[in-house]
């Protein structure tokens, strides 16, 4: 199913912010390639540069040195780039405008397409997309973003992806705002979208357990560098980098000891 076409190619890609002494190197000399129809996870703690890398993929930032290519070309025109590369973000409420109905905003997604369909077809495609994420179109008729729950809004973002049918989806912590049952639900729809649209997915998360479940390949990031990459089973069963071991170690697992609480409380410390 997979072919060897490279979707993204990064070679010695570095992205820095600030200048002089206050320079921050968010992405540090990374080299990788992401193939067609692959699900790649970027895993790392807060501030390790995974979101900056996602923004480079979206053309929102440009590498300060090195090259970053999409289908062999550098990203210059974001309007054209976004027809093929789309993103799902962490907080769906900040992705939608509170003053417009959800339906009108889903229809606005057609704005970036080259050939806009007729109004009738737009309505049909919005309906189809809503059904694909298991929401009946009358349920959101005339509703505004704040009237829906977090899980429903996250599915609206996925419906938007379904309308646009991009080649690449960048999912930046799409499940970190929702609880465990909704998370399983969102992941199901994400996988369904992947099957249907034959997308490449770049999945960004800090939870290596989640990454293990969804992806074909894992990139572990630390301080802007990719410290380890490989298949999920390889990385989780025989981690090589200390940062990977730390990430695996920090997840509270049901069947493994984590932090052990000492049973007896000592004498009370006086109040301030």
């Amino acid at each position: 199913m997979q072919n060897n076409k490279n979707i993204f190619t990064a070679s010695n890609c570095t992205c820095e912010f600030g200048s002089g002494k206050k320079i921050v190197r968010a992405v540090d000399n990374v080299t990788f390639e992401i193939k067609d129809e692959e699900i790649v996870s970027l895993v790392g703690g807060s501030g390790c540069g995974k979101s900056v890398l996602a923004k480079i993929m979206l053309g929102l930032h440009h590498p300060t040195s090195g090259t970053f290519l999409y289908n062999g070309n550098p990203i210059t025109n974001t309007k054209i780039h976004w027809r093929e590369v789309q993103a799902v973000f962490q907080d769906p409420f900040s992705c939608f405008n509170q003053f417009f109905t959800i339906r009108s905003q889903l229809k606005a997604a057609f704005g970036i397409m080259k050939d806009k369909p007729s109004t009738k077809e737009m309505e049909d495609r919005v309906d189809q997309a809503l059904l694909a994420v298991n929401i009946k179109p009358p349920e959101i008729e005339g509703k505004y973003p704040f009237e829906l729950s977090g899980g429903q809004m996250q599915r609206m973002l996925l419906a938007r992806i379904f309308i646009l049918r991009p080649k690449v989806l960048i999912a930046d912590e799409p499940t970190s705002m929702v609880d465990a049952c909704v998370r399983a639900n969102i992941l199901d729809y994400l996988m369904k979208l992947k099957e249907e649209l034959k997308m490449t997915i770049v999945f960004i998360t800090h939870d290596i357990g989640l990454a293990y479940y969804v992806s074909d390949r894992l990139f572990i990031m630390h301080k802007g560098k990719i410290v380890e990459q490989g298949s999920p089973d390889e990385v989780t069963s025989s981690p090589k980098s200390e940062h990977t071991i730390q990430l695996l170690d920090d997840i509270p697992e049901i069947h493994r000891d984590w932090i052990v609480r000492s049973p007896s409380a000592k004498l009370a410390h006086p109040a301030v």
């Binding site: 609880d179 998370r183 409380a265 301030v272």
Partner: protein, 323 residues
């Protein structure tokens, strides 16, 4: 005597159309000194509403319907928010909020926020001594004390902010701490650091009794002594951590355990299963079992018969068919 007693607590919101939303129904439990109770449930099941009720802080549109909350024998019901703020919060019951960034005033330094807490609750403390006493307390937290106290919240990392908030919440050695999802906005590494700090404070005797609210059951397995599973405003199963995590009996707890992910090698084929459907609308009174619409083993009579708490295999379960 129990430190914390909750008897048949029911809470409702009153909307501006006069409609009552019964967010919490018939919650009862008692806690002994030194116990950690974990409360788990999905978003919108009434966890955060319950927290407000447990503090006795009823700010409209939230009103108590019935029931009683007692801390060390003292009732928190039918008291004004001003009275609660002055005499109960921080000293008796203290809350660790979810988003540390929203809980700290962005225009103040951390030391000023903390000093305010002391000045408001302990009139007898001389203002000159507040900062030195604060420094002593913050030295226990394992952070760079000077840096944290003299920074504005925006200059700190997420973990430092959350730890500062925990430090400020526990300044007055409260009898009871309620942690409302203290780590859900943090990454796994920072989460571990924050939980370690909480354990450290427990060990040092700064506080001993805690309610820990989260939707991550694997985390509760390591933190809590007892776990209560909440669904649509009710406790559906209450038992010890081992009972709930390794041997769940209520269909909802079973479904919740099925939705958990694991990074253990070779588990990739074991897919987490989502629970289909949505929780019921709490504006309309529900007679039968609240989980019946989504329950995989529901019988037709489940929708009619009111479910009461009963004992199954040593724990409380709200399901008449659970075995």
């Amino acid at each position: 005597m129990s430190v914390f007693e909750v008897q048949n607590l029911s809470l409702h919101y009153l909307t501006r159309f006069g409609q009552k939303i019964h967010a919490v129904t018939d919650v009862s439990f008692t806690m002994e000194k030194g116990e950690i109770l974990g409360i788990a449930g999905e978003s919108g099941c009434g966890k955060s509403t319950l927290v407000n009720g447990l503090m006795g802080l009823f700010i409209p549109p939230l009103y108590p319907t019935s029931g009683d909350v007692r801390v060390g024998g003292e009732s928190l019901m039918n008291r004004s928010p001003k009275d609660i703020r002055e005499n109960v919060l921080c000293r008796k019951v203290s809350m660790i909020p979810q988003g540390a960034f929203n809980a700290l005033n962005p225009t103040c330094k951390v030391k000023d926020i903390a000093a305010d807490v002391i000045a408001a609750h302990m009139k007898e403390v001389d203002k000159k001594h507040i900062y030195s006493r604060l420094r002593e307390r913050f030295d226990l937290f394992g952070m760079n004390t000077d840096k944290v106290l003299n920074s504005h919240p925006i200059q700190l990392t997420a973990g430092e902010r959350q730890r500062s908030v925990i430090g400020i919440s526990t300044l007055l050695n409260p009898q009871m701490v309620i942690a409302d999802e203290p780590t859900s906005a943090l990454d796994v590494t920072t989460q571990k650091v924050v939980i370690k700090m909480i354990f450290d404070l427990l060990e040092k005797g700064i506080f001993s009794t805690m309610i820990f609210i989260t939707h991550e059951l694997p985390l509760l397995r390591h933190v809590a002594d007892n776990i209560a599973i909440m669904y649509a405003g009710e406790f559906v199963e209450v038992g010890t951590t081992e009972q709930i995590v390794f041997d769940p009996r209520h269909p909802y707890t079973k479904a919740l355990m099925g939705a958990m992910l694991s990074a253990e090698p070779g588990q990739k084929q074991k897919k987490p299963t989502a629970i289909e459907g949505a929780p019921p609308n709490l504006a309309n009174p529900i007679e039968g079992c609240r989980f019946a619409e989504r329950c995989p083993v529901a019988k037709p009579e489940c929708r009619k018969n009111k479910q009461d708490i009963r004992m199954v295999a040593g724990r409380q379960v709200r399901c008449e068919y659970a075995e």
